[in-house]
């Protein structure tokens, strides 16, 4: 008995015991530390991909060729996209999932902690391989992030490096997804039924199913590319009887669900922030859950809207047009629910709330331009123009990335135990929102006027809008340094955060102290 008591007190004393530096960060199986690693990795990649975007914008400040040659320009557009999609947005959301899912469902850790460690540590190696392709003969892949055949059948060894890197990233995100599903389905606190789960948990559960359904398809597509390149198969090479359009079908069968993989967790984060600062429960919780599931289902039957111009039967074009437009119904349900949650709430506008409202506003604009692109005859005009570039940056930057920034401000006090500097946070929001619009809004006009994407040069009449866009891009990039400063300052010190942090927030994560101790929920909480 005495022995048992000693063990108890031992456990209690070492509740917050952390291993030494190397073991803690390199061999970690703790969901919070791995979450932190993911988030740091994601932020690093955001700056790396952002630097490449600035090379693109510097070159496009004026017509003609100023700084880089067109081949390097194409490497920039390609690797910028690969890094942002697979290095910044996806790992960023996995970081949030690692940190928050166990806290939200009342679990002591992720279900498969060692696999968790492995899935993170694959990523730095994958991106080292991808980035070192800049130094091989011919430079990095330059065929666009979609790696369309037959161009990628011809590229240099950098294409092989990209394929290996993509396989590794795919394995990493599949393992992350399996971990999320097992955690959510098996480790919820007693009393937390599926329909009592917080929205972020729901959106991530559905995202994880999307991931395990489509990442293997993408792995298959790039494997076919690899065997076409080196092992004499002819899946896509017309010389051997293959069909390049087939690659586009397989790629976008992965690619469209991938788009929702990058936005559903953002919807989840927004669904936590808005009720907190509107001081009302989320309006229409169950419709939110079903809307998320509906979006996930529809994402599998709309892929060909990315390739209307390859020439497909009229019935096909009509089907993909209507199916695509159908997605705006569940998405509209979500937007209405967020707006209704705010309606007559006692709203305050702290930084996370500013970001959440910014996302609702700007993402919806991106959704609207998406609806325009879905119209098949109109798409023949917009296809591969800057209108498309503007559209997907409105949904990916002002949707996914700004939601993550809002989420970071929202949970930063829980992670660090300190309040961030509210005025700096607000300044960061306004700089980001304004420069974002300066960068990408003019690109709508450029696209409508016919400026094609992925070119290092353009006719003189496009100069003015491009200059707006370039100025905005540098402003946007530099503003993010402020974010880094705020985060570092908050980690180092600041006003002590309470366990609740905000006013009566909902969710189990607010029942643990701030900063969240190294081990939480060793005894599962009971949810009523």
């Amino acid at each position: 008995m005495a022995n048992a008591a000693a063990v108890d007190s031992h456990d209690h004393d070492h509740h917050d015991h952390k291993p030494p530096f190397f073991q803690r960060w390199f061999m970690s199986t703790n969901h919070k530390d791995i979450g932190t690693l993911y988030l740091i990795f994601s932020l690093t990649m955001l700056f790396l991909g952002g630097a490449m975007a600035l090379v693109i914008r510097a070159e496009l400040f004026q017509p003609g060729l100023q700084f880089v040659d067109p081949h390097f320009f194409n490497q920039m557009t390609t690797v910028h996209a690969l890094i942002m999609v697979f290095g910044a947005v996806m790992p960023g959301f996995v970081g949030f999932a690692n940190w928050m899912l166990p806290l939200m469902v009342g679990a002591p850790d992720m279900a498969l902690p060692r696999m968790n460690n492995w899935s993170f540590w694959i990523l730095p190696f994958a991106f080292t391989i991808l980035l070192s392709s800049f130094f091989v003969p011919g430079g990095a892949p330059a065929a666009g992030w979609t790696l369309y055949a037959p161009l990628t059948i011809q590229g240099g060894m950098s294409v092989d490096m990209a394929i290996v890197a993509i396989h590794m990233m795919g394995i990493s995100s599949i393992m992350g997804a399996i971990n999320v599903i097992v955690t959510v389905l098996n480790m919820r606190a007693p009393g937390m039924t599926l329909m009592k789960m917080p929205m972020f948990v729901w959106t991530w559960l559905i995202t994880a199913f999307l991931l395990i359904a489509v990442m293997p398809v993408f792995a298959g597509a790039v494997t076919m590319l690899l065997t076409d390149r080196h092992f004499g198969t002819a899946f896509f090479d017309p010389a051997g009887g293959g069909d390049p359009v087939l690659y586009q079908h397989i790629f976008w069968f992965f690619g469209h669900p991938e788009v929702y993989i990058m936005i559903l967790p953002a919807f989840g984060i927004i669904s936590h922030i808005i009720p907190t600062f509107a001081r009302k429960p989320l309006f229409g919780y169950s419709s939110m859950v079903f809307a998320t599931a509906a979006i996930a289902f529809l994402s599998f039957i709309v892929w060909a809207h990315h390739m209307f111009t390859v020439g497909m039967p009229l019935q096909g074009e009509l089907f993909f047009m209507y199916a695509t437009m159908l997605i705006s119904v569940p998405t509209g349900v979500k937007v209405f629910n967020w707006v209704t949650t705010m309606w007559r709430g006692s709203m305050t506008f702290e930084t996370p709330m500013l970001y959440a409202i910014g996302v609702v506003f700007l993402f919806t604009m991106g959704g609207l331009s998406g609806l325009m692109l879905a119209i098949t005859p109109a798409d023949f005009q917009y296809h591969d123009t800057y209108f498309v570039v503007a559209h997907f940056h409105y949904v990916l930057f002002s949707g996914a990335v700004m939601a993550m920034m809002g989420g970071a401000y929202f949970w930063l006090p829980k992670w660090t135990g300190h309040m961030y500097n509210e005025s700096l946070g607000k300044i960061h929001f306004w700089l980001t929102a304004i420069f974002f619009n300066v960068t990408f809004f003019p690109q709508h006009f450029l696209g409508l006027a016919g400026m094609p994407r992925r070119y290092a040069d353009y006719p003189v009449q496009f100069t003015e809008f491009n200059q707006w866009s370039s100025v905005g891009a540098f402003g946007l990039g530099i503003s993010q340094l402020l974010f880094v400063y705020i985060v570092i300052a908050t980690v180092r010190g600041g006003k002590k955060a309470t366990a609740e942090v905000w006013e009566n927030p909902e969710g189990l994560e607010w029942t643990v102290p701030s900063p969240a101790p190294f081990h939480t929920f060793d005894d599962p909480p009971v949810v009523k």
Binding site: I178, A213, A221, G232, G240
Partner: protein
Amino acid sequence: MSAQANLVVKLVIICGVMFGFGYALVPLYEAFCRVTGFGGKTDIIQESVAQNAAQLNREVAVSFTSHASTNLPWEFKPVTRSMDIKIGEVQEAKFYVKNVSNRPITGMATFNVTPPRAGFHFKKTECFCFTEQLMQPGEEQEMVVRFMLDSQMPSDVQELTLSYTFFDNAKYAASGD
């Protein structure tokens, strides 16, 4: 097996199945193209069947285009640029091919019909594109395609284009056909 391990195994199986599904899309797409004519795929029939096909008193203007892939040093052009063809009539079109290099090269032609929905009703009985073609240095040939348009050809198709591309087959020659 614990509930947890059980679930992990199921999820890994889903991943494996989806990896296979990516590959399954290849034959599915082939079948889809063959059935619908999508992608400008054409159909093959026996000469005897073609000779007995129903003829209609409707003409379609058929144009021919051809080119050799950039890394194949062949001259390749249609002898007749276009002809008006009665539905159901078996016709022959000739293409001029010359190997302008000083080495023997095996080429393989791919084809496509525009508009794609006409491809399904474009029936070949014989074509140089069915087999690999070996050309000696400087050799010239007239290559032949025999074909007919079947009576199901959509009535609003008044003109269509048959296009050929010759590729260097060296990379695939070993695998045969």
